[in-house]
């Protein structure tokens, strides 16, 4: 099956449109003129021929007439001569009746136009009649009428003459040729040949002449005497009149030629010419009309084609036609622009097409197979193809069958739309919306938006719908959230009275308990301008039930911890003190044992013994101090806030810390101004805090060289109510994250630690309306600072 358009045809299609033919009216008139000229020429020729024929006919007629005239003349002259001979013989008496009879009868027999030859006397009495059987006249008959007068005239003139035509007894027309006979100037009579006029023409002229012409004999008065036919020819165009010279008697013979063929015959060629001309003209008109119609149709077609062509070339949708085997038969400019391939590079190529990216090969192959099988989805294919440059882009392909003029399918037409941008935009939009929805729905907080006036809920996230039902959209917010709603009098502004200028504004921020579920919510409500311009209330309700619960538990736990901690701290202190006590006790035991041994052996010096005993006593005193300190610490019980000088607290704490400080080689520097006011605290508690901070500080510097292990305790008054105490170490410091984390319960970096030290410290400080925090020290390490109230 040939493709819908071949390449050659295709290229022709794209050639510039030919300019329309100029209207050349003369070109169309020329045939009419030609036909007119031709017709006229033909008519003239025909007329000339007609005229010539007519002329020929006339000439023939004239010839014939002339011939007829001569024939008649000669016959009449013959008759006259015969009669004259008879007359001469009579004159000279050489003629008798018998002779007359013989000669005249013979003559009459030879000339049928003569009815009889008679001899009449001068009185007009018939004397002889030859032939005797003639019926025209009888012997003894008296001529009368014109015959007699003619006879008289002849006798008188003595010249042969014809009588006028008369009707004989048989009513035949006849005329008498009268030859007078004189002898010696007396009249003897006359010979009369009775001419039968009727026979004259018939006998005188041959048969062909009679059939060819209509002959009519006219008398001198042009009255018709006789005709050789009773049919009068209607057409007298070819006719002539000649005079029959019957001596004095003039007769005219009118000759009319019978027409050969019909009267219409001369007009046939002209008629044919006219008819043909009309026919040709008519055909021409029809042809022209058809041509004009055709030209108009062509014009329309051209316009339509040009329009289609322009459309096809200018449209942004790529068009690609393939035949049933998948070979490309057509691509438009947009498609070429899109893919970057030229038309020549694409036409005739079957799958795989050059614009298929290798990684999409399988999918595209599948698509084209589906499309060729006629099962392309009506929504088209969405696919990724490649420009010539290798750049990928997304398109949507719609397949439709390509039908030729005969109604057969010859391929598939695909329209290709570049959807990279729309797709990207759509994907972006979808993603943005998805992100928005995910974020909003992912919130634990219930978010909803309600019209400030009507209370209609315009938006609600998943958390909100989970609490209040999934059909809340469009309902009245006041009714839906009645069980958990800030009382109107607690709102910062009256939402109904808000104007555009006030937006956005805070309406409520507080905690509300859900009346039914008992859950606690932190409600934050604001009035803002909604997307459609109206004023709406946005409420964010965070469920803080768990947090509240945890806070409560924490509070309880902290109290318990504080109590436990005090015990633990005391236990630790006791252990520390016990260890410290071991030293003096061991030393005392050693001194004593040494003394005993020397005294037993008797080998001793008194001074040595005394010195040793003195040393033992010193150690005993050292042990006593330790015991006192311990007692002092343990005797305290409930928190008891009393004014106390900070320096004293620090000094007492330091006495404990010194034990460890000595062990770990840390130098504790106390830098407290003299003139600080007393602080109002529970001594033991604050001492615990200080001790804890000192111990932490010492541990933090464990890895440092001994000379850098310095712990500084300082204090300053920051305002009328508070004193700030700082414990700074020179250790490695804490990461920013850890600065706050260290205060979390059970957070620890020490293998043997319990991680409750700093948490309790913070609780203790907060119990004193103070604050405890950590920050990086300027010279490296960490500073723990806390504030405590001073005496007012």
């Amino acid at each position: 099956m040939a493709p819908f358009w071949s390449k050659a045809k295709n290229s022709a299609m794209f050639s510039p449109t030919p300019p329309p033919h100029p209207r050349q009216a003369w070109l169309w008139s020329a045939p009419y003129f030609a036909i007119g000229f031709f017709a006229v020429a033909m008519l003239i020729t025909t007329a000339i021929l007609q005229w010539r024929e007519h002329d020929t006919a006339h000439s023939a007629l004239e010839g014939d007439m002339h011939w007829a005239e001569r024939t008649i003349d000669s016959r009449l002259h013959g008759h006259q001569d015969f009669l004259a001979e008879l007359a001469r013989d009579q004159e000279y008496l050489r003629l008798d009746y018998e002779a007359f009879q013989v000669r005249a009868s013979r003559y009459v027999g030879d000339n049928p136009d003569i009815a009889a030859v008679i001899w009449v006397g001068t009185d007009g009495k018939v004397e002889w009649v030859a032939p005797y059987e003639a019926t025209a006249t009888f012997v003894g008959e008296q001529l009368g009428g014109v015959r007699l007068s003619a006879l008289m005239d002849t006798l008188r003139s003595r010249r042969a003459a014809f009588s006028p035509v008369y009707r004989d007894a048989g009513q035949h027309r006849a005329a008498d040729l009268i030859i007078p006979v004189q002898r010696s100037s007396s009249d003897l009579g006359a010979f009369i040949a009775i001419h039968s006029i009727d026979s004259l023409l018939r006998v005188t002229l041959p048969t062909w002449f009679n059939t060819k012409y209509s002959l009519t004999l006219l008398d001198s008065n042009a009255r018709e005497l006789l005709s050789n036919t009773t049919v009068k020819p209607t057409d007298r165009t070819i006719s002539g009149t000649m005079n029959l010279d019957l001596l004095d008697n003039r007769l005219g013979l009118q000759i009319v030629a019978y027409r050969t063929g019909g009267a219409w015959l001369p007009y046939v060629p002209a008629a044919i010419i006219v008819v043909l001309t009309l026919l040709v003209a008519g055909t021409l008109i029809q042809l022209r009309r058809h041509a004009r119609h055709r030209a108009e149709t062509e014009e329309q077609l051209r316009a339509a084609y040009a329009f289609r062509q322009a459309m096809s070339q200018s449209m942004v949708t790529g068009l690609r036609a393939i035949d049933l085997e998948g070979r490309i038969t057509f691509v438009n400019a947009a498609f070429c622009r899109m893919t970057g391939f030229t038309e020549a590079e694409l036409i005739g190529i079957g799958p795989p097409y050059p614009y298929w990216p290798p990684e999409e090969f399988e999918k595209l192959k599948h698509n084209i197979d589906v499309a060729l099988a006629g099962q392309a989805p009506p929504g088209g294919f969405e696919m990724r193809i490649m420009r010539k440059s290798g750049e990928r882009f997304d398109v949507r392909l719609y397949f439709s069958p390509l039908i030729d003029a005969a109604g057969r399918q010859i391929g598939w037409m695909a329209s290709v739309n570049d959807i990279t941008e729309p797709k990207r935009a759509r994907v972006e939009l979808e993603r943005a919306h998805e992100r928005f929805a995910t974020v909003i729905d992912g919130l634990d907080a219930a978010v909803h938006v309600a019209d400030a006036g009507s209370g209609e809920i315009l938006f609600a996230n998943r958390a909100f719908r989970t609490i209040y039902g999934f059909d809340v959209l469009g309902r009245d917010s006041a009714l839906v959230t009645a069980v958990c709603r800030p009382p109107p009098e607690t709102l910062a502004r009256d939402p109904a009275g808000l104007t555009g200028a006030d937006l956005p504004c805070e309406l409520f921020d507080g905690e509300i308990q859900h009346a039914l579920s008992g859950h606690w919510y932190h409600l934050h409500e604001r009035a803002i301008r909604w997307v459609d311009g109206r004023t709406v209330r946005v409420q964010i309700a965070a469920d803080i039930t768990d947090k509240k619960h945890i806070d409560e538990v924490n509070l309880k736990q902290q109290k318990r911890l504080e109590q436990t901690s005090r015990l633990i701290t005391m236990g630790e202190m006791a252990s520390s003190l016990a260890h410290e006590l071991n030293q003096p006790l061991s030393a005392i035991a050693n001194y004593s044992a040494g003394c005993v041994k020397r005294l037993q052996s008797g080998n001793y010096r008194m001074d040595d013994i005394l010195a040793a005993m003195q040393k033992a006593a010193d150690q005993a005193e050292r042990a006593g101090k330790i015991i006192r300190r311990m007692r002092h610490m343990v005797k305290k019980g409930d928190p008891n806030r009393q004014p106390a000088p900070l320096s004293e607290l620090v000094e007492e704490t330091r006495a404990f810390a010194d034990i460890e400080a000595k062990n770990s080689g840390v130098q504790i520097v106390v830098d407290i101004p003299e003139d600080l006011p007393d602080i109002v605290v529970d001594r033991i508690m604050i001492e615990q805090v200080l001790l804890n901070l000192l111990k932490n500080g010492m541990e933090a510097m464990h890895d440092l060289p001994a000379e850098r292990r310095k712990l500084t305790v300082s204090a300053e008054r920051i305002d009328d109510r508070l004193l700030e105490v700082a414990v700074a170490d020179q250790g490695h410091g804490l990461a920013d994250d850890d600065l706050e984390k260290v205060f979390a319960p059970f957070y620890t970096t020490k293998p043997e630690g319990m991680g409750i030290g700093l948490a309790i410290c913070r609780s203790i400080i907060e119990f004193h309306q103070g604050r405890l925090w950590a920050e990086p020290a300027a010279e490296g390490g960490t500073v723990f600072r806390f504030t405590v109230p001073i005496e007012e």
Partner: protein, 207 residues
Amino acid sequence: MSEGMPTIHVVDDDEAMRDSMTWLLEGEGYQVACYDSAAAFLAARSDDMQGCMVLDVRMPNMSGLELQERLDALGCSLPIIFVTGHGDVPMAVSALQRGACDFIEKPFNNEDILSRIRRALDLECQLRTRRQRDTALSHRAGQLTPREREVMRLVVAGKLNKQIADELNISMKTVEAHRARVMEKMDVRTLAELVKASMALDERQGA
């Protein structure tokens, strides 16, 4: 510090403890050397030190345990008696596992510490004697040629001279000559003595 008289090395950061220990031990007739820190001891240490150490576990900078590790690494074989404070028992146990001689908890009875010191000194004395003997034996064994050492191994294993000759593919006479030289070099007179010396050598090598 005279030869044959062991010294008690006391390492403790507490001045009173050092002083009282010196007083006590000198009363017993021991030589005492005191060091106020692990670092001080390490600085004064020499390989020919005799006696034992009384080492406080809890000391600033370098603890007693850390010092023990360092000494171990240095190959010092002085017996160590750890002195621990209250609550340091688990620490002392781990010290013992690492080869410490003994430990004692403060405050201690003077007899307890003295008996431990005596035991430690005895132990140190034995160790030193054995070490000296082993050193002599090794020295002698070092003089043996490889062939002689082989012969000695077979002799000690109880093989007859003929068997030894067959095994080493040498003549009986040669075996006898080697054997005589082994006896001579190892400074033994009887086969039993040779076996004992050989076992001591094996023990030392195995140790």
